[in-house]
């Protein structure tokens, strides 16, 4: 049947090229379907999507982020897809945990386009210059602190420090909590940690700061959750924290050779902090007039080998095992790094946490703000911990 499909995703031109190629493939196979793809950078994407959804003019296929899927799904903007499975949407060889990741309140809303894991990005060149060994999978925060201090002390570069200040970095904190057997949020949208854990967390970072292991707060504050503002990119630190699929982006604007490693352990034997996280989803708009077609396109996108080849690991490692195999064979050096990293996490990886509650986005902002207050000395670590728990509890209560 004739159908016009509208796609919307965030990303840059390389991603668009790949996506459009898939659309072409789909169109040649499904004559009569025309697909228009729109894409924008991350920052511009959300206001446009919100406006279009609010105006009842949402695109049929929407790229979704882990953080926003709950917000959109709970408000009924996305179409539940479980009824299409498995006949129309064949996610048979997907990791079940990833299906869960795309579910909200028992309905399935988002097809994961790739797996991802939180990671530490290392500037190996800087490590070499400073004569310091790279951290390994076994390195603990304590050791990492010493490594950082050494790099700073080596003083090979001007204004250069060991690593970025991650005290306000939500994945990093989450990892820390998970290693302690806690989590950020419970499945029923409650806070899943206490003040003392965060206080200790803040305290640890305060010590790093004192030891000059990490960058000072005013340098860290330059970071805006973007690759180009990372202390690593700006040449201020030898290590920063990012999602593994961002590695390519980091490497592109860095002169030095970069590498990926896991987040540090809190104790040599602690584990399960990491998890394979859906990097992004395709969701289908509940306003779509061509639901079936949209679902079919999504299905094609994640299960067709040609499509997988076209897409590569640019959105993360394909969730489908079959596709993963197709892709892995053709990766280049830089491209392989995240793949190897994610697959090599071993005991560090644990269960996928439940999808964050709505309000989690604000929680992230609160964490960042309080971490900065602690870093700039406006709050003591223990007060910071208490305040964070207070504020997040309040946010969650508000819904």
């Amino acid at each position: 049947a004739d159908a016009r499909l509208r796609l919307l995703w965030w990303g840059s031109q390389p991603r668009a090229d790949r996506t459009n190629k898939v659309s072409q493939l789909y169109q040649t196979k499904n004559a009569g379907t025309s697909i228009t793809g729109e894409f924008l950078g991350w920052g511009d994407y959300w206001p446009r999507l919100a406006t279009q959804v609010a105006g009842r003019n949402a695109p049929d296929v929407i790229q979704m982020d882990y953080r926003y899927i709950v917000e959109y799904a709970r408000r009924g903007a996305l179409a539940p897809l479980e009824s299409y499975m498995p006949s129309k949407l064949n996610l048979g060889d997907f990791d079940p945990a990833q299906i869960e990741g795309g579910s909200v309140d028992g309905h399935f809303y988002g097809v994961s386009l790739g797996a991802n894991a939180a990671s530490t990005v290392l500037n190996t060149t800087a490590f070499q210059e400073a004569g310091v060994d790279l951290p390994t999978q076994a390195t603990t925060w304590e050791e990492f602190g010493k490594i950082g201090a050494e790099i700073t002390k080596a003083g090979k570069r001007k204004g250069f420090f060991g690593f970025a200040d991650g005290s306000g970095n939500e994945p990093l904190l989450e990892n820390y909590l998970r290693q302690r057997g806690k989590a950020l949020y419970t499945a029923d949208s409650k806070i899943a940690f206490g003040a003392e854990e965060v206080s200790e967390w803040f305290d640890m970072w305060s010590k790093f700061r004192e030891a000059n292991a990490c960058v000072p707060p005013d340098v860290q504050a330059l970071y805006k959750d973007t690759i180009d503002t990372s202390p690593l990119t700006l040449g201020k630190a030898a290590a920063d924290y990012a999602h593994s699929n961002q590695f390519v982006g980091f490497q592109a604007i860095s002169k030095d050779k970069l590498a990926l490693t896991n987040y540090m352990r809190i104790k040599p034997d602690s584990k399960g902090g990491h998890y394979r996280k859906p990097s992004m989803f395709f969701s289908v708009s509940s306003q779509s007039k061509v639901l079936d077609q949209a679902v079919d396109y999504v299905n094609f996108f994640v299960t067709n080998p040609d499509a997988a080849l076209a897409l590569d690991v640019e959105r993360g490692i394909p969730e489908s095992k079959a596709m993963r195999d197709v892709v892995a064979a053709k990766l280049d050096e830089t491209g392989k790094v995240p793949l190897n990293y994610v697959s090599g996490l071993g005991d560090l990886a644990g269960k996928l946490p439940p999808p964050p509650p709505s309000g989690a986005g604000e929680g992230q902002v609160v964490l960042r703000t309080i971490a900065e207050q602690v870093a700039f000395g406006q709050l003591s670590p223990s007060d910071g911990g208490k305040q964070l728990v207070d504020e997040i509890s309040r946010l969650l209560a508000k819904g």
């Binding site: 920052g43 959300w46 206001p47 919100a50 959804v53 609010a54 917000e71 959109y72 408000r75 009924g76 903007a77 001007k158 204004g159 000072p216 707060p217 005013d218 340098v219 860290q220 504050a221 330059l222 805006k224 959750d225 973007t226 180009d228 503002t229 700006l234 309000g359 986005g361 604000e362 902002v365 960042r368 703000t369 900065e372 207050q373 700039f376 406006q378």
Partner: protein, 318 residues
């Protein structure tokens, strides 16, 4: 603002209803038609495009509206929360007020001074003028964010300059105590539009005013102070009002420089940035609308005040 347009009515348009042969309607028509005809495009735009959305947003400010589900009437709850239970509102207000109070006077002064300098018969003037406008050409482009970091980060140009005086500055742009000032600096640096308006205003001052003043023995400075400034007051007034409104509504500088976070520690959380976060980040369009209307109210009070005082210091000759 009732006497904004006080004029010496020249014509028969403001007429008395005496014993005249014309009908009342016809007189009303001849008195008002030209004005409304000229205003017609604006009126169409206002009723067709502006009024509706404005009223809807006013309505939304009394609702809970997440942009996807339909709005739910909550009465004044949003306003109550702003007034009583929103520490970020106060923080944002403080940031914005600081910004308004600092950036507007500096920017205007700077713009006026440069406009004065560029109004003189200097060779190569058009080029200078264009160069001085250049920062404003960049508007809110991505490049500005990078550039400002180049200037005000810990290893930026400013600190490099300060280092010559033995001062070791912090990373101004990302320090909660100073970051707002770098945004003020950005605003002042983009002084191009008030400068151009001042230039146009300077062009309207009759040259014989300066001739008379110079024969009265007035120095350049006195001419500036006694002739230029007073005769420029309508333009100064315009710039002050518009720049203040703009500063209250400032969004882009903080958005690009802080990456939309308003950080560090909310030190650059401009009012509209907060409003934007609430609307598009947290899906609270109803609340954001309430925030918006409070801002409108504040700006309106300020503007009304400016118009009231303007009669004492703004010189119109019409």
């Amino acid at each position: 603002m009732s006497d904004v347009m006080r004029t010496t009515a020249p014509d028969a348009i403001k007429s008395e209803y005496g014993a005249a042969t014309q009908g009342r309607f016809k007189r009303l028509w001849t008195a008002n038609a030209p004005g409304y005809l000229f205003l017609l495009p604006w009126l169409i735009g206002f009723f067709g495009l502006t009024l509706g959305p404005a009223v809807i947003s006013l309505y939304l400010s009394f609702t809970d509206f997440d942009m996807i589900q339909s709005a739910e009437w909550v009465g004044a709850a949003n306003y109550v929360r702003i007034a009583t239970a929103d520490p970020k509102f106060a923080a944002a207000m403080k940031v914005t007020l600081t910004y308004v109070v600092l950036s507007v006077p500096f920017k205007l002064t700077f713009a006026l001074l440069v406009a004065m300098a560029l109004n003189k018969g200097v060779r190569g003037l058009p080029l200078y003028r264009a160069i001085f406008y250049l920062p404003s050409l960049l508007g809110g482009s991505v490049a500005i964010a990078v550039l400002w970091r180049q200037l005000f980060a810990g290893d930026g140009l400013v600190n490099a300059a300060l280092a010559h005086f033995g001062i070791e500055g912090p990373s101004w742009i990302s320090h909660p105590s100073y970051s707002i000032y770098t945004l003020v600096a950005l605003s002042v640096w983009q002084f191009g539009s008030p400068m151009i308006i001042f230039l146009a205003g300077l062009r309207q001052i009759p040259t014989d005013m300066y001739e008379a003043a110079s024969l009265d023995g007035a120095s350049k400075f006195r001419q500036f102070y006694k002739i230029t400034l007073p005769l420029l007051t309508p333009v100064i007034f315009f710039n002050a009002v518009v720049q203040t409104i703009d500063a209250f509504k400032a969004f882009t500088p903080a958005f690009i420089i802080s990456g939309g976070t308003g950080g560090p520690i909310n030190s650059t959380l401009f009012y509209t940035l907060y409003l934007y976060q609430e609307a598009f980040g947290n899906f609270r369009m109803g609340y954001a609308s309430a925030l918006a209307w409070i801002l409108v109210l504040i700006i309106a009070i300020f503007t009304a005040f400016s118009f009231l005082t303007s009669r004492y210091w703004v010189h119109y000759d019409d």
